[in-house]
Amino acid sequence: MTDATASPPTIPRRRLDAWPLVLVPALALVALPLVGSPTSWVTLTVAGLAMGMMIFVVASGLTLIFGLMDVLNFGHGAFIAVGAYVALSALGPLAPWLASGDPVQTVLALLTAAAVAMVVTGALGLVFERVIVRPVYGNHLKQILITMGGLIVAEQLIRVIWGADQKPMPLPAGLRGGIMLGDVAVEKFRLLAVGVGLAVFAAMTLVLNRTKLGLLIRAGVENGEMVEALGYRIRRLFVGVFVAGSALAGLGGTLWALYRETLTADIGGEVMVLVFIVIIIGGLGSVGGCFIGAILVALTANYVGYLAPKLALVSNIALMVAVLMWRPNGLWPVSKR
């Protein structure tokens, strides 16, 4: 079985469990008659997809960290907030590029800001892993408590560094407005978000499924001790995944802040609730499940927000309950722990 020289076609492939995939179009179709007008339906759907992508970017790092390391980082929200604030600071010097209104320069400026945010949150992740998380591997209760403590401290430090008041983070002029596709207006920023989300998903899928690193990570998720016994330093993998996950949180924070157009220090906590719902729906540790879950949550939130605004957040809980009734461990559970 483990013979590496065995010809690939003989390896039994796990049958693709396609039911969760059907959920997304099914949800969208159910919503169509409820919403009524097709144009608002398309607008809502595109907006939902964009929001789903942003949530996915944030949640993917968390679910990967959980899958590989069995660490649930409640402090992930802090990385989101730090990413958003760093991007805001990085956009300051780049203001001339943004002011030009030229789409290419705008996107370049945003990419630079996002890259800075990712580097900072990645570095922070390295420190966080070493100082906060490492001493409590294998102890869930302490993990929850201590990462929660880390979240408080980080949120307060943000207030110390950037001030406690709300900060505006205006969407650059080049990304304002929308593109008309027939009757339907699609905001440019939403398109950008969808693009970024798809790119992250594609990159993650490729790395996880087509590279040796990805193979090791997946093997580590399934059975870490075995990977270690085969001579790979799983600790390094751990740290790498933690840093990558934190950097993704930074990217997600940047997108989320641009979407909200205002920044407060508790932005992280707010997103975390959505992120938790998403990774519970998706199945802890699963990237694909996280992707589906994020889209489901965002679409539901958007449709319900349009139909009955007061029920938006409650609708997510209802969605989570419904999914868990169907599959108690989420759509595509990875870990058997």
């Binding site: 201590i146 408080i152 110390v160 975390m272 519970i280 957040l313």
Partner: protein, 353 residues
């Protein structure tokens, strides 16, 4: 001894501290004059009950819930809204509390039955999501709950400051409705605390601890793990509802900031951890220390911030609004170095000698 259910403090310093807290709270109106200390004492009482009931979950059963403030809030809103919409009489207040108890326990039952089958992490996340949804719901249904502003309401006549029971002050203290309200809070908390002590030292409490230590083994011994956990969840929720009701009755106000906000959940966590998880005496010390520190630390930090005005960053670090930063640091450090909290420290010190 049977009053304490055989669970003695087991440390001389701990006994002295607990006695000091008990005496301090029992005679608070007489020992400390003025409104501020009595408010602090009432808050300490309410939080002792809240934290002790939370300890039943986190310390004794190993369940991490972030929805404890939700039940606290249900209690507060139950009593508060009943008195706001109804007449300010005892039956209305008790009816509100009863309705809140039923709601809270049913909700705890549903959440527990649903998600306690899976692992602790799941439960933590689900409760966090449910609690935040509840908080949003409470502030969005503003026509009913008063939204962010909350509701101020009239309490029954006997609890009003204007009601005098004795013509002359007793030991320099007016015997009025506020005094009665304080003693209602104090005695209810005392009774429920002793009840909780009884619960955790009963066979039921032992099973909870067994499940915390090794769920698999407890199951193998024939205990239905889910049933015990759901029961613990419901008991803790019911006590939190009562704490919320008492809090509302004392404050004559109920609103999201005093009951549902996530800050309060953090406070509860800090109190449990600092006091010591898995021992109810820890919640007494944790709550007392925390509430007192909350009131006085901020003043201390204010003066420190003024002294450091020359160095802007340092001054901002000790700004009174940033006191949660220092509590957070304290929290992380205590999870690392004193996972058993103050009580655990005191007890182990005794054993070492």
């Amino acid at each position: 001894m049977s009053l304490l259910s055989g669970d003695l403090p087991r440390s001389r310093i701990l006994s002295l501290l607990l006695l000091a807290v008990l005496v301090g709270l029992a005679f608070a109106p007489f020992l400390f004059g003025g409104a501020q200390p009595i408010n602090t004492a009432a808050k300490v009482c309410v939080f002792i009950l809240l934290v002790a009931s939370y300890d039943l979950l986190i310390g004794y059963s190993g369940i991490v819930s972030f929805a404890h403030t939700m039940f606290f809030g249900i209690g507060g809103y139950g009593v508060g809204l009943a008195l706001y919409y109804g007449t300010a009489t005892w039956p209305v207040a008790l009816g509100g509390l009863a309705a809140a108890l039923v709601t809270g326990v049913l909700l705890a039952f549903a959440i527990g039955l649903f998600s306690l089958r899976v692992r602790a992490l799941f439960y933590a996340m689900i409760t966090l999501a449910v609690a935040s949804a509840f908080a949003v719901l409470a502030s969005q249904l503003s026509a009913f709950t008063g939204g962010e502003d909350g509701r101020s309401f009239r309490v029954p006549d006997a609890l009003r400051p204007g009601t005098k029971f004795l013509d002359a002050p007793l030991f320099g203290v007016d015997v009025n409705g506020r005094l009665l309200a304080y003693y209602i809070v104090f005695l209810t908390v005392l009774a429920l605390f002793l009840l909780l002590l009884r619960i955790v030292n009963s066979p039921f409490g032992r099973v909870l601890q067994a499940i915390r230590e090794n769920e698999f083994r407890a199951e193998a011994l024939g205990y239905r793990v889910v049933r015990y956990r759901v029961a613990a969840n419901c008991i803790a929720a019911a006590l939190a509802v009562v704490a919320g009701g008492l809090n509302a009755l004392w404050l004559r106000y109920t609103g999201p900031d005093t009951t549902l906000s996530f800050t309060i959940m953090m406070d509860i966590l800090l109190m449990v951890v600092i006091g010591g998880m898995g021992t109810l005496y820890g919640s007494v010390l944790g709550a007392t220390l925390f509430v007192v520190a909350q009131n006085y630390l901020q003043k201390l930090m204010g003066s420190a911030a003024q002294a450091l005005e020359a160095t802007p960053l340092l001054a901002r670090l000790v700004d009174p609004d940033r006191w949660l930063l220092w509590l957070g640091v304290l929290f992380v450090l205590s999870v690392y170095f004193f996972p058993t909290g103050i009580v655990g420290r005191l007890r182990s010190g005794r054993q070492a000698r």
